[in-house]
């Protein structure tokens, strides 16, 4: 188990390095130059030597691989560089927006789990009955409705019935929990619908699969109540794939937020990413992509470890 864990950790390194290389060189292929965009963007007449000086200050005049290694060197020491656009450290810009995105992501996850587990289980128990059909249609619809459109509909609904519009500023949970929750529950719902749909479908198929196992038949033939069979023998064993899906979707939620934050006027990671991409702010985009990839790979790793810990049949050598 220890050997497996170590090997699994070591295997994360090439993947992360691959992500870093891909992002770095892809961004360098981008047309347009941030320095020109920043200084000449408004059509100002800036002499060439000023532009060159600014490029030198940002280190953009050095060969690509030198830039890459100095960036990687910084990253290894926890220094992600300075945002080329705002001039503040990238880690500062990200940290100041992370709380918001993370909170929406966590709320969406909680919503999704609360909705998905009971619905998925019901759907599996009442397979091929009207209950199952309704739940399946609802969850397939969840995969189809774009989260940003759902967000717009929610705002429209709130405005029409409660005269509520998305606030311009965001209140931290630690300052005023109630107001904070009333602000963020709506974006969480907008992204949570799709999320819960994915989890519901996984719960259903996973339980259906487990219910065909021999130990379920054994439990039934012993005369265990059907409810207990489902709860103790079925659900418990069906949870692993569901946990996987929830974990992976959580990692991808940052992606879902890219668009939804736009609708709710939330100044989070997603909005930062879109802005940074549009402005050609290399250091910012690199750091954000790396952050998301690290989250994804870490969650993947944790899930694998969880599998090994929860399921005694899985033994890695």
């Amino acid at each position: 188990m220890l050997a497996y864990t170590v090997r699994r950790i070591l295997l994360m390194i090439p993947t992360l390095l691959g992500v870093a290389i891909l992002v770095f060189f892809m961004l360098r292929l981008m047309p347009g130059d941030i320095v020109e965009l920043m200084l000449r963007g408004e059509g100002a007449d800036v002499p060439q030597h000023v532009i060159d000086a600014e490029r030198a200050r940002l280190g953009l005049d050095q060969p690509l691989f030198v830039q890459f290694f100095s960036w990687m060197g910084g990253v290894l020491q926890g220094d992600f560089g300075i945002s080329m656009w705002t001039g503040r450290p990238v880690s500062f810009e990200i940290a100041s927006r992370l709380e918001l995105s993370l909170q929406v992501a966590i709320m969406a996850t909680i919503l999704a789990v609360i909705i998905a587990l009971p619905l998925g289980t019901l759907s599996a128990i009442f397979r091929n009955t009207p209950i199952d059909h309704v739940i399946r249609v609802i969850s397939i619809a969840g995969l189809a409705v774009p989260s940003f459109w759902l967000g717009m509909l929610i705002i429209l609904f709130l405005l029409t019935f409660f005269n509520w519009i998305p606030p311009l500023t965001f209140v931290s949970f630690f300052e005023d929990p109630l107001r904070n929750l009333s602000q963020l529950i709506w974006p969480a719902m907008a992204v949570g619908y799709r999320y819960s749909a994915v989890a519901t479908r996984m719960t259903r198929s996973s339980i259906l699969e487990v219910m065909q196992e021999d130990y379920i038949r054994t439990a039934r033939s012993k005369g265990v109540y059907e409810r207990l069979v489902v709860a103790r023998h079925g659900m418990r064993n069906a949870m692993l794939p569901v946990v996987t899906v929830i974990g992976l979707e959580f990692a991808f939620l940052i992606g879902g937020l890219v668009v939804t934050e736009q609708v709710f006027n939330l100044n989070g990671i997603g909005k930062l990413f879109v802005q940074a991409t549009a402005r050609g702010d290399f250091t910012m985009v690199q750091a954000l992509v790396l952050l998301v990839a690290v989250c994804f790979i870490l969650i993947n790793f944790l899930i694998d470890m969880l599998y090994a810990a929860l399921d005694p049949r899985i033994r890695y050598s």
């Binding site: 992500v19 189809a144 774009p146 459109w149 717009m152 940052i254 668009v259």
Partner: protein, 300 residues
């Protein structure tokens, strides 16, 4: 003694009726059939948009700005007085063209990579799989955004080729993974050994003996990823990085001025959003049923 003419007892055999596959699909998969019907309607109205749409989707009419849905304008008009019903119909053209092409490109490249990876194994397999892992660790929209930003626009025959690359790229690793595992199972079967013993080239073995056996998962994924591609195109266009004005595209119709005015004129966002949702819904329903029908054990 009366003579009775003996007649052979009539025996009828019940031969199971061989139904046409389309009919068999329709009878066992009602939800999938509904999805398929909707897809057909969508394709027809996209192809014959010139006939179906009552107005020119680009025609600006300052006498009819943000008119609510009426008999004249079933879905109302936008802030330029353009007829939304016509724009939604023409938007189907954009969505389906980009959805189908990106899914086809992504699934085909993914399938080839998956087959090569599994067939050759060893270092080729390891290298390809590591690279696919790298691609998989980007959220799809982040990957697509980066590609759009890097490549810019490149319009050939009215379709943005770079947008198709951006939408197709995230599909590749997922398809490659599924096709790889199918191929791994097939590779061990005796007829592949036989083909190899007969001295067939790698190319022939892959194309003639392995490819036909991965068609079912390929078709299922092709359908499923059209849905993802339509959704991704809508998201990118919504962010202003996909299809651009004045082309009629559903995601684009939800952004820009629609985002400014939708509180006063809700029909400006309701119908395009509904169009995206229904299109993706139909493809998902059909894809799901197709999987149940062709390969119920497949995991995606």
């Amino acid at each position: 003694m009366a003579t009775t003419t003996e007649t052979a007892p009539k025996v009828t055999y019940r031969v199971p009726k061989k139904r046409h596959p389309v009919l068999a699909f329709a009878l066992t998969q009602p939800l999938g059939t509904a999805g398929l019907l909707f897809i057909v309607v969508m394709i027809l109205s996209a192809v014959f948009a010139d006939v179906v749409a009552p107005y020119d989707p680009l025609q600006v009419n300052y006498m009819a700005i943000m008119v609510p849905p009426s008999l004249e304008h079933p879905f109302g008009t936008d802030n330029f007085g353009r007829d939304l019903f016509s724009r939604v119909i023409y938007g189907a053209r954009t969505a389906l063209a980009i959805g189908f092409i990106s899914s086809l490109v992504g699934c085909s490249i993914g399938a080839v990579i998956g087959m090569i990876s599994a067939y050759f194994g060893g270092i080729v397999d390891t290298l390809i799989q590591r690279f696919m892992d790298v691609l998989l660790s980007f959220p799809i929209i982040v990957l697509a955004l980066a590609v759009v930003a890097v490549l810019g626009k490149n319009i050939v025959l009215g379709v943005d080729v770079n947008l198709i690359i951006a939408i197709g790229l995230p599909i590749i690793p997922k398809v490659a993974r599924v096709v790889r595992s199918s191929t791994l199972a097939i590779r061990e079967l005796p007829y592949i050994d036989a083909a190899r013993a007969a001295g067939f080239s790698h190319r022939r073995i892959v194309m003639r003996h392995i490819l036909p056996n991965v068609t079912a998962p390929y078709l299922i994924m092709l359908t499923a990823f059209v849905a993802q591609a339509i959704l991704l195109e809508a998201s990118l266009s919504f962010l202003g990085l996909g299809v651009t004005e004045p082309t009629a595209a559903w995601g684009l119709m939800l952004s820009g001025s629609a985002a400014d005015f939708y509180l006063e004129a809700p029909w400006m966002i309701i119908f395009p959003g509904l169009a995206i949702s229904l299109a993706v819904f139909a493809f998902n329903l059909f894809g799901d049923s197709l999987r149940d029908w062709l390969d119920p054990k497949m995991k995606m």
